[in-house]
Amino acid sequence: MSILVIADHENGSLKAATLNVVSAAKAIGGDVEVLVVGENCGSAAEAAAKVEGVSKVLVADNAAYGHQLAENLSLLVADLGKGYSHIVASAGTTGKDFLPRVAALLDVAQISDIVAVESADTFKRPIYAGNAIATVQSSDSIKVITVRTTAFDPVAAEGGSAAVETVDSAQDAGNSAFVSAEIAKSDRPELTSATIVVSGGRGMQNGENFKMLEGIADKLGAAMGASRAAVDAGFVPNDMQVGQTGKIVAPNLYIAVGISGAIQHLAGMSGSKVIVAINKDEEAPIFQVADYGLVADLFEAVPELDAAL
C-alpha cells in the first residue's frame, strides 16, 4: 500500500497544511510519497523531502502547473495516481478544486474533508455543516481523499531525508488560463494555521471597529477572523470568514468578540482548544461552547484587554 500526498505550497515554500496531510496519510498506513506540482517549486520539494515519515518526493515543475489550474493538475495526478492505493490532499481551495476531477478521471468516489481515519478504507467526515459525523467505507481500488487539516496534528517538518525524483511531464488541457489574482497581504499568521485567532462579529458594528481587535491580535501574534454576519454586513473581506461556509479553524485559543454563535459559525471553530467569548448578551449561544465567557460591552472590554496584555 502506498499513499500519494499532494503538497500545498506557495511561492516556493511548503505550506504547513502539508504536515497535517502527511499525518493523516501516516494514520492510513503504508509508504507516504509526496508530489509537489507547480512552477519553480524546487525549494518546496526540498522542504518536503525533510518532512518526517516521507519516503519519496516527486516534483513536477512546469509552466503548465504554474497557477495550479485544476484542468492541468488533474491530468497529471490522475496519471501518476494510478499506481497508489490512496491519493490525499488538504481540503483547502486548491485540493477541493482539482481532486474531485482526479477522482472522476479515475472513475472512483472522493471522500471529502475527513476528520479521522478508522482504517485504510474507512473514514469519518462531517456532514450537514458539522451537525453530524458520518463513518464512510469505500470499496474503490484507489481512495481519493481530502483532509480537514485541523483534525490531524502535524508531523515534524524536519528529520526526514527522502529522495527527490523529477517527473518529466507537462499536461496542458489547453482550455483554461490564469488571468489575475488578488491576494490579501498581511503580516499576521494565516487564519487556518494560526495558534491564536481573534474574531469579530456583527457586534463590532462596523469595519472601522475591527481595528480594536487588530491591537489584540498583534500583541498575541494572532490571526484575525470574522463571523459570516460581519462579512455579509460588509465590515471585513470574506477571506476572514470563519464557519462552515468559510474557513475551519482549530487554534489553541479562539477569542470571539461580539459573535452570537450561530451554528454556521460554531461549525468552523468548535475544534479550538480554548474558546473565549466576549458578548453583552448573556443568553448568546456562543457561551454554551466557551471555556471562558465575559458578559460585557465589547467597546469597554476590548480596550481594557488590549491595555492589559
Binding site: 468516489a109 463513518t135 491576494i183 484587554l305
Partner: protein, 249 residues
C-alpha cells in the same frame, strides 16, 4: 447561448438537524425540504445572464424522488425556461450524479453549466468538478463573479487568501460561492406561470447510466459536544485564567 443549471432538493437550511437514534442517518421525516442555497445562487446567476441578454435559454435539471419536482418548479418560477427531473428513489452519490449530468449535457449541449459548489446535506463539494472532468470541460469553482466574453467565460474564484480570475473556453462548468449574487424570491404570478412551463421526467435507465455507489455509510453520529465553561467577572480575571489556568497566552 444555452445554460444548464443543476439543482438539489435538501433539508431546509433553517431546520435543526437531528441524528436518528439508531445512528443510520439524519432524520428527514416531516422535515421541511428546500432548494440547496448554493443551487439558488446558480439559478439566480443564470437568470441574470438571461436578463443581460447573454443567455437565451435556461434549462434546469434535478435528480431525486418525484417530489423534487417542487425544486425544479421553483427554478422555473425564478426564471428558468424548461425543467428536467431524473427521477430515482435511490441514493445517488456524487460520481453518479456527475455521470447523469454528463448524459444531460450530451443531449442539451449547453455552453455553460452552473451548479452550487456544494450541497448543505452531504457537504461533498465534488459534483461540478467531476462533471467537468467527465465532459472534458474547464471549470471555475467557488465563483464570486462570472463574465461571459465571446466564446470565453471569465470566472473570479474565491480561494484561500483572496481571489483568482481564470479565463475558460466554453463550454465550461461554473460552481457558485455565496457572494456571487443574492437570489430573488419568486413572485406569485411567476409561480403560477411556472406551472405551465415544460418539465420533462426521465430516469437513470432512460439516460443509460447505471448507479454504482462505492461508498457505504456505516454510521452517523452526533458530533462531540463542548461543555460550557465558566463566566469570568472582568478582563483581569479573564487574563489570569488564560495565563495561569489554560496557559494559552
Amino acid at each position: 447561448m444555452k445554460v444548464l443549471v443543476a439543482v438539489k432538493r435538501v433539508i431546509d437550511y433553517n431546520v435543526k438537524v437531528r441524528v436518528k437514534p439508531d445512528n443510520t442517518g439524519v432524520d428527514l421525516t416531516n422535515v421541511k425540504m428546500a432548494m440547496n442555497p448554493f443551487c439558488e445562487i446558480a439559478v439566480e446567476e443564470a437568470v441574470r445572464l438571461k436578463e443581460k441578454g447573454v443567455v437565451s435559454e435556461i434549462v434546469v435539471v434535478s435528480i431525486g424522488p418525484k417530489v423534487a419536482q417542487e425544486q425544479v418548479r421553483t427554478s422555473l418560477a425564478l426564471g428558468a425556461d424548461r425543467g428536467i427531473l431524473i427521477e430515482t428513489d435511490e441514493e445517488v452519490q456524487a460520481l453518479d450524479v456527475a455521470k447523469l449530468l454528463k448524459a444531460v449535457v450530451e443531449k442539451e449541449q449547453p455552453n455553460l453549466v452552473i451548479l452550487g459548489k456544494q450541497s448543505i446535506d452531504s457537504d461533498n463539494n465534488q459534483t461540478g468538478q467531476m462533471l467537468a472532468a467527465l465532459t472534458g470541460m474547464p471549470q471555475g469553482t467557488f465563483a464570486s463573479e462570472v463574465a461571459v466574453d465571446g466564446d470565453k467565460v471569465n470566472v473570479t474564484r474565491e480561494i484561500d487568501g483572496g481571489l483568482v480570475t481564470v479565463a475558460l473556453n466554453m463550454p465550461a462548468v461554473v460552481t457558485t460561492d455565496l457572494r456571487l449574487n443574492e437570489p430573488r424570491y419568486a413572485s406569485l404570478p411567476n409561480i403560477m406561470k411556472a406551472k405551465k412551463k415544460p418539465l420533462e421526467m426521465t430516469s437513470p435507465a432512460d439516460l443509460s447510466v447505471e448507479l454504482k455507489p462505492s461508498l457505504t455509510t456505516l454510521k452517523v453520529e452526533e458530533p462531540a459536544t463542548r461543555q460550557a465553561g465558566i463566566k469570568v467577572a472582568d478582563v483581569a480575571e479573564l487574563i489570569d485564567k488564560l495565563k495561569n489556568e489554560a496557559k494559552v497566552i
